[in-house]
Amino acid sequence: MAVDAQTVEKLAELARIAISEETIDEVSSRLGDVLQLVDQLQAVNTDGVAPMAHPLDEVQVLRKDEVTEPNRREDFLALAPQTEAGLYLVPKVID
């Protein structure tokens, strides 16, 4: 069950992944394989089984409300391609 090319293109756009024309067919059939596996899983009768939000049947541990992180701005800024006045610079985004 292949996923059509249009869906692949839309998913790639949403995920900001570049997929070249030549590879669309391959990606489409691979995604199809994944969906087939999901179909297989969905065939299992799960009546009366509560859905899980996480594969581990555990409960989240919370932390105390304390400031524990020091300012490491210069270290982080040094990793960015472009910075100015303590800000990370990115291609202009106007919504």
Binding site: L14, A53, L56, R63, K64, E69, L87, L89, V93, D95
Partner: protein, 483 residues
């Protein structure tokens, strides 16, 4: 055709925690850019979020104050979209199992009526960073200090029918979160922000019209104006044979209009899924009951108590309890002066006008509750008249000390000396022969009204300091003696 406006609000409230919702970075406002953005907030590879227990406690407090169901098992999900102020490529939020479920609150309108607004749910999520678009050589500057600040998003049902109702609802939310102390509620700093979903339909129609969402409204005034102008736009559009498009719009305060934000962009497809980095958060009944037992007195309860204990009108009690700081101030003045009604009048009258004029909050009031109580005590014991009290109040606002100091220094003490007042009355009567003549010849029913002239003259002669009750009494005796 009669149209009905239908409004639902999504309110984002920044929680007043010390640290972020998933990291130990500070949430303090106003720091240098990116000095409070740690590896977790920046989505560095290998980092993992750990939720802040205080954010949950605050959210539960809010849920209880909204008479809502508490999600004893809540689940974080990823809302996927790309924007530079959100380095992970998704916002960690809640969808299917939020911390606060359905609830309801009562809102109070200007005309004195009340209305119930239903809460759809409220969920915990992280705030995004800020994008700055000016002066970066055609690029955008990103400050991630705000990224990861805990928010509760409060989603109402579409229960509001006018801009005024929307504002009343928002004021109620503001009042509740500040009473609880879970947010500073400062709209100018973005601690409380609002998106409005607005649609119109013909009155009597059951089906909802197509809605638009107005984003990022950050003052009560703009919310009211934006909703009004957007509802009118939709009505005009439909009456001209057009159709409302479901879209996100932005309010332009300068032009007082809304405009479409995203015209070409494909519809958002957030592909929510449970966040694999976070386990479900489970709260016990004991935990929730403990928080319930620690809730402070909330606006509605305080309002009812003010009506009952202080004999205030419903309107006055409501006005005084909208802000916790105002309510606390009033209670101090009422207790110290022993005159709750006078205290209410002064807090809502002269004091409110003063704060408004000086653009100050009641916490920074130039006149302390103690000083105002002292002033009211002097009105009560007839040391000064209400009129002179206003003069004393102005002096206290200028920092001239407490009421007694001002009264003493300016010699404003009310004249209650019978001899002195009798003399002033005699002088005025002697100087007003024609008015006295008119008084004598007037119909007895008209006479009480005619006394106003003499009272005015005597007050003027005493520079407003003569005791008005005594003037009235002595004047009447002397005039009647002339009949």
């Amino acid at each position: 055709m009669e149209w009905e406006v239908v409004i639902g609000l999504e309110v984002h409230v920044q929680l007043a925690t010390q640290s972020k919702i998933f990291s130990g970075a500070s949430t303090a406002f106003g720091a240098e850019p990116n000095t409070q953005a740690c590896a977790v907030d920046l989505a560095m590879p290998g980092t993992l979020p750990v939720p802040n227990e205080e954010a949950f406690r605050f959210a539960v407090m809010f849920g209880l104050a909204m008479n809502a169901e508490i999600g004893k098992r809540s689940v974080f999900e990823r809302k996927n979209y790309f924007y530079p102020d959100l380095p992970k490529g998704y916002q960690t939020t809640q969808l299917e199992q939020p911390i606060v479920g359905a609830g309801q609150i009562e809102i109070h309108l200007e005309d004195g009526s009340s209305k119930t607004v239903r809460l759809h749910h409220a969920h915990l999520e992280e705030d995004a960073g800020k994008s700055l678009h000016e002066d970066f050589h055609g690029m955008s500057g990103i400050d991630l200090n705000r990224a990861g600040t805990p928010l509760i998003e409060i989603v109402s049902e579409p229960d509001m029918r006018s801009a005024a109702e929307a504002v009343a609802y928002l004021k109620k939310i503001h009042s509740i979160v500040t009473y609880l102390g879970i947010s500073d509620g400062d709209m100018s700093q973005g601690s409380l922000r609002c998106d409005a979903n607005v649609s119109v339909r013909l009155k009597g129609e059951e089906e909802l019209g197509t809605r638009t969402e107005i984003k990022n409204l950050n003052s009560f005034r703009f919310i009211e104006k934006a909703i009004k102008v957007e509802a009118q736009r939709q009505i005009d559009l439909i009456e001209d044979g057009g159709k409302v498009t479901q879209e996100t719009r932005l309010y332009d305060a300068d032009k007082n209009e809304t405009r479409s934000m995203r015209s070409k962009e494909v519809a958002n497809d957030y592909r929510y899924f449970p966040c694999p980095d976070l386990l479900p958060v489970v709260l016990t009944d004991d935990y929730v009951e403990q928080i319930r037992s620690e809730l402070p007195e909330l606006p509605d309860a305080k309002c009812a108590r003010f009506e009952k204990d202080y004999g205030l009108s419903a309107y006055d009690a409501d006005q005084l309890t909208q802000e916790r700081a105002t309510a606390d101030y009033f209670e101090q003045v009422a207790a110290k002066s022993g005159e709750p009604k006078l205290a209410a009048n002064w807090v809502m009258g002269e004091l409110a006008a003063l704060l408004n004029r000086e653009e100050k909050s009641i916490a920074d009031s130039p006149v302390s509750a103690e000083h105002l109580a002292g002033l009211i005590a002097r009105i009560k014991d007839n040391t000064i008249s209400s009129k002179i009290a206003k003069q004393v109040f102005e002096a206290m606002a200028n920092g001239d000390g407490d009421a007694d100091t001002v009264i003493e220094a300016k010699g404003l003490k009310q004249v209650s000396d019978t001899g002195a007042i009798e003399k002033m009355v005699d002088d005025v009567i002697a100087a007003s022969t024609s008015q006295v003549e008119n008084y004598r010849n007037a119909d007895p029913d008209k006479r009480p009204k005619m006394m106003g002239f003499f009272v005015g003259q005597i007050m003027k002669a005493s520079k407003g300091q003569a005791n008005p009750q005594m003037i009235n009494k002595i004047l009447k005796e002397k005039l009647d003696a002339l009949l």
